[in-house]
Homo-oligomer: 211 residues x 2
Amino acid sequence: MSEETFILKNTFPNFSNELIQEIETNSSFQSFKAGDVIMRTGQYIKSTILILKGQLKIYREGEDGEEFLMYYLQAGQACAISLICSTKDQKSQITAKVVEDVEAVTISLALMDKWMMNHRSWYEFVIYTYRTRFEEVLEVIDNIAFRAMDERLEFYLKRHAKACGCKEINLSHQEIALELNTSREVVSRLLKKMEQRGLVHLHRNQIELKI
Amino acid sequence: MSEETFILKNTFPNFSNELIQEIETNSSFQSFKAGDVIMRTGQYIKSTILILKGQLKIYREGEDGEEFLMYYLQAGQACAISLICSTKDQKSQITAKVVEDVEAVTISLALMDKWMMNHRSWYEFVIYTYRTRFEEVLEVIDNIAFRAMDERLEFYLKRHAKACGCKEINLSHQEIALELNTSREVVSRLLKKMEQRGLVHLHRNQIELKI
DNA sequence: TTGCCCGTGTGACAAATGTTACTGTGGCTA
DNA sequence: TAGCCACAGTAACATTTGTCACACGGGCAA
């Protein structure tokens, strides 16, 4: 078994052997550096990527360049939006930026379309991806629709900790503010209150989550 | 051609003849009255519905019973969420309420799953539905993340007018406030400002859109 | 007609959030 | 070491939104 096969099988354990083989013969491996923007709002989607390693964030851009975090993508996942844009010349509605160096497999739209019909395990992956992302987006809506900034910040920190698997969050207040579409001062203020309540411990460039 | 076949073919012109036939033989026609709640947050999804006539609204419920409008469903459409929940015992994340009396076809999950593989036109319908709803939800996120209440209200009114196909909106300020998750007073205040700007003309129980 | 409810309008105030301005501090580098 | 810069803290104020209180008028039913 080649190294690629091994990684693919491990990262996407539900894919059938035939599918893995098809992926290997038909698609290309690629790397991206932290900070790279893989997809930008308004660009045409020509392919999708399966993530083997690293982390991406998917966010919505406002008219004045505001960012708004939707969700993170990690190894074993794919971007729901690019999975579904189908054959039409579909413009991306979101931006994808690399958080940690990414290794990925690029798959053309035509192939995806074919696989949907021929590979049960691909079909299930797509449906699963779509469903979970839709749910995640619904949760995001809940947060901004029903909750105030303090709760949203708390939710954001927990989600971030979960995504990176540790309780130390290495983000500046400015970065957090961007993703929640608010201002640094507000984030500082609320974090200070959270610290008083014992929920976090604040350091320079690091927030230690204590819950 | 039976009456049902005729209606189905007209409402879902992209469905193949074989698919239409399958729908007819395997699923049941149902009616719902305005105000009925077809699906509620937390309920298990056992089937999906294709809408032949009338209008539904799909909204998210907050913990204290707040509503938050996601989108409307009309003839020729289906609920994206129920389309994708697949075989798992999936709980609904949204609530669906009838706005105008609805006639619909109910389809079990098992059938949907089968059709995805066997009927290209069903597959395309599902993908199309998912994509467009995802986009709509992204737009909703834009609105609450990046825009203030006055813009959101304007957007809401336009969307409502578009959905019902006329410029007279027969809603009380209270109802609008619920769907935007704000209070009646705020809606009144903003509508008054819009009237001063010449965007609307206010009547009792009716808002006349002038744009 | 009278009384009542609903929808609406509005002022006054409270609370949350955004903005401006300034301070301090740690670390890097010229 | 001095100067610079990014990050963080915070006070003061503006703006937006939510809340409370109350008034007005239309229409309906007793």
